[in-house]
């Protein structure tokens, strides 16, 4: 661990983003964003395309310059430091391996740029390739590798330089589903064994949830919420986070205070749902997760739930463990999505079957619209 003299904060964080704003003309791609990343942390920035996450990452790498604010790495300001002088390395979305070089030369490139002798660079590159499971691949052409192997070369090329921070720009985007699932776990393990700080950007909530220690949800240039995957999922701070992270049912209506600390939301149809939240204004949004929706064939088991409705199955979306039901519910404009039980009397439910749904007030998050 390095200690920077004169700055107590420096030793406790690897990356500090301080009120960073980036404007393109009058449009603010990144709007007054601040956060810190601790050493060894896997930090993700999650957001839809065009939310400014790529711009933010490129500013950390040094390819874009903030309009205002400061970027500090281990307490040292990076303003005015060119990309090739920053202790930050990036895994690009397209991986950007050097096709004119062999696998070994790709990994050794950064070392030779630093003035490490050719022989020593080659040796260190080979050792790094061994650690990422590509022993003996040094002489191969990068074009002769599979998607997963190319991925590992791209990461090895960064890790061999022992950077303070590795930036990953949606590196799994180009892979097929099976490999992507596999690489998620592998990336997390690599990060753990090297104990390097990772900053990962993605629009894929499952990638972010599975790998990250902390996630920042970004929307229209701002951070909506920063927290652990569980916090974001169970206690979203804004309607955007509630609907962007994970599957959810979204209801729109008018809020009115109700008994024992809950908020009642009156839907346009007149139906009322009970939820938790802080919506004082009239227009309100309410969210409930599909797995929080309890299902029953008769109303008795749900009788103690504040939210109880009747409906009819309109679609069975079978997807193994992630199967769900769409239920046309009286009083709701959109069908309610619920998790399909894999066992019990409801496992074999068919389209058109009558059903009762219900959920607790705790499971329903209410926000001002």
């Amino acid at each position: 661990m390095t200690l920077c003299i004169g700055s107590v904060m420096a030793s406790s964080t690897d990356l500090d983003i301080v009120n960073v704003t980036k404007r393109f003309g009058s449009h603010a791609a990144v709007d007054d964003v601040s956060f810190s990343v601790a050493p060894g942390e896997f930090f993700s920035i999650l957001g839809p395309s065009g939310c400014g996450k790529t711009t933010l990452m490129r500013m950390i790498a040094g390819f874009e310059h903030p309009t205002s604010g400061d970027i500090r790495i281990r307490g040292k300001s990076m303003i005015g430091v060119p990309a090739n002088k920053r202790p930050v390395n990036m895994v690009f979305q397209s991986l950007a391996l050097f096709p004119m070089m062999s696998v070994g030369e790709n990994v050794a490139y950064g070392l030779t740029c630093r003035g490490v002798s050719r022989a020593q660079a080659e040796e260190r590159a080979n050792r790094m390739l061994e650690r990422v499971g590509l022993k003996g691949f040094g002489e191969r052409r990068v074009t002769a590798l599979s998607g997963g192997q190319r991925q590992r070369v791209a990461i090895a090329r960064c890790l061999v330089l022992e950077p303070t921070l590795v930036l990953l720009d949606e590196p799994l985007g180009a892979l097929d589903l099976k490999l992507r699932e596999h690489m998620k776990i592998e990336l997390k393990q690599l990060q753990g064994t090297f104990n390097t700080t990772f900053a990962y950007i993605t629009h894929d909530q499952s990638e972010a949830l599975v790998m990250s220690d902390r996630i920042a949800v970004m929307n229209q240039g701002r951070f909506e919420q920063v927290g652990s995957p569980r916090e974001l999922y169970h206690n979203p701070a804004t309607p955007f986070v509630a609907s962007f992270v994970g599957e959810t049912n979204r209801l729109q209506g008018e809020a009115a205070p109700a008994a024992n600390g809950t908020i009642a939301v009156r839907l346009p149809s007149g139906a009322v749902v009970q939820g938790q939240g802080s919506a004082a204004a009239k227009a309100a949004l309410a969210f409930v997760r599909p797995e929080a929706v309890a299902l029953a064939q008769d109303p008795a088991p749900l009788s103690n739930l504040p939210n109880r409705f009747e409906g009819r199955v309109s679609a069975v979306l079978f997807d193994g463990a992630a199967s769900s039901l769409l239920i046309d519910t009286t009083g709701f404009e959109q069908p309610v999505r619920a998790v399909l039980p894999q066992a019990g009397p409801l496992a074999g439910i068919q389209v058109g079957a009558p059903i009762h749904v219900g959920w607790t007030a705790d499971a329903m998050k209410v926000f001002a619209a």
């Binding site: 790498a61 090739n84 990036m90 391996l97 050097f98």
Partner: protein
């Protein structure tokens, strides 16, 4: 190919113009010239087979010196053209966008809308003793008397580089355009300086384009006639002038034919050597050009 007879006939008919063109205009004259180059005049209107024309080339210093000079100058012109064209192509391929890119390529093309002769005469108007540059030098007081800038190697090289520039820029810009921007960024990100990125990433990537451009420019330069004659005058001493002189002035066709074959041999040898030295194959190079 084991196609049906009708398919074969179609293929043959489609290829016929190309085969005729190659056969009648390229292969046939070259065979004729090859045969001609080995015939010696033993008596008026009597010719016999012999190596005399080739021996003449090696025994007369003027011939092989002109030959060596042409080879050397052509390589120099090619190298200069490459150095000048590279930043231009880099700008067109990597920096310029949309309309500006099209405009810049058009600007490079524009001089080729007039004939080579007229373009060369344009340079003469600029460079001659009574020309524009000489006049300007005198009027700003840098020269006391008219300056002759024509009829030296510099003028010849200038004209040849100017003529070759477009043929270098186009294949170079093509090759550079296909370089993914993220690869260049990765080069910087991993700690490379501008020079390292240029040397280890941009140039190796552009190599097929570089070789293609160099081959085209070298061939055009070695075989050029008007530019060395007009801009170099008596000092031009280009090998094509020797060939011209043998065919037209001295009416010694066998000698001219031998010179022609030697020039063909020279350009082929240098192109082969260039491909070998850069480790490129003719196939990938032709794709770039």
């Amino acid at each position: 190919m084991t196609g049906k007879p009708a398919q074969r006939l179609t293929l043959f008919l489609l290829l016929a113009p190309a085969i005729l063109w190659l056969g009648l205009l390229i292969v046939l004259p070259h065979v004729e010239i090859l045969v001609l180059s080995f015939s010696e005049r033993v008596a008026p209107r009597v010719y016999a087979f012999g190596f005399g024309n080739y021996l003449e080339f090696f025994t007369e210093p003027l011939y092989w010196r002109t030959f060596a000079r042409t080879a050397f100058m052509s390589i120099l012109v090619t190298a200069l053209t490459l150095v000048l064209a590279f930043p231009i192509a880099l700008y067109i391929a990597r920096v310029a966008q949309g309309r500006l890119k099209a405009m810049l390529l058009l600007l490079c093309l524009l001089p080729f809308w007039v004939s080579e002769l007229v373009r060369t005469l344009g340079w003469m108007i600029l460079l001659r003793e009574t020309g524009v540059i000489s006049y300007m030098l005198r009027s700003i007081g840098l020269a006391g008397q008219p300056v002759e800038l024509l009829y030296n190697d510099g003028a010849v090289i200038l004209g040849l580089v100017y003529g070759g520039l477009l043929f270098m820029i186009v294949p170079l810009a093509n090759a550079l355009e296909s370089l993914e921007p993220a690869v260049v960024e990765a080069g910087y990100d991993l700690g490379g300086s501008r020079w390292t990125v240029l040397r280890r990433i941009v140039i190796p990537h552009a190599m097929p384009g570089i070789v293609a451009g160099c081959i085209i420019v070298f061939m055009l330069t070695v075989g050029n006639f008007a530019t060395p004659v007009l801009l170099g005058g008596k000092n031009g001493l280009w090998f094509t002038e020797q060939i011209y002189a043998q065919f037209i002035t001295r009416f010694n066709w066998p000698q001219g034919a031998a010179f022609g074959m030697l020039l063909l041999l020279l350009s082929s040898a240098i192109v082969w050597l260039g491909l070998r030295l850069t480790g490129q194959s003719l196939g990938t190079t032709l794709k770039q050009a």
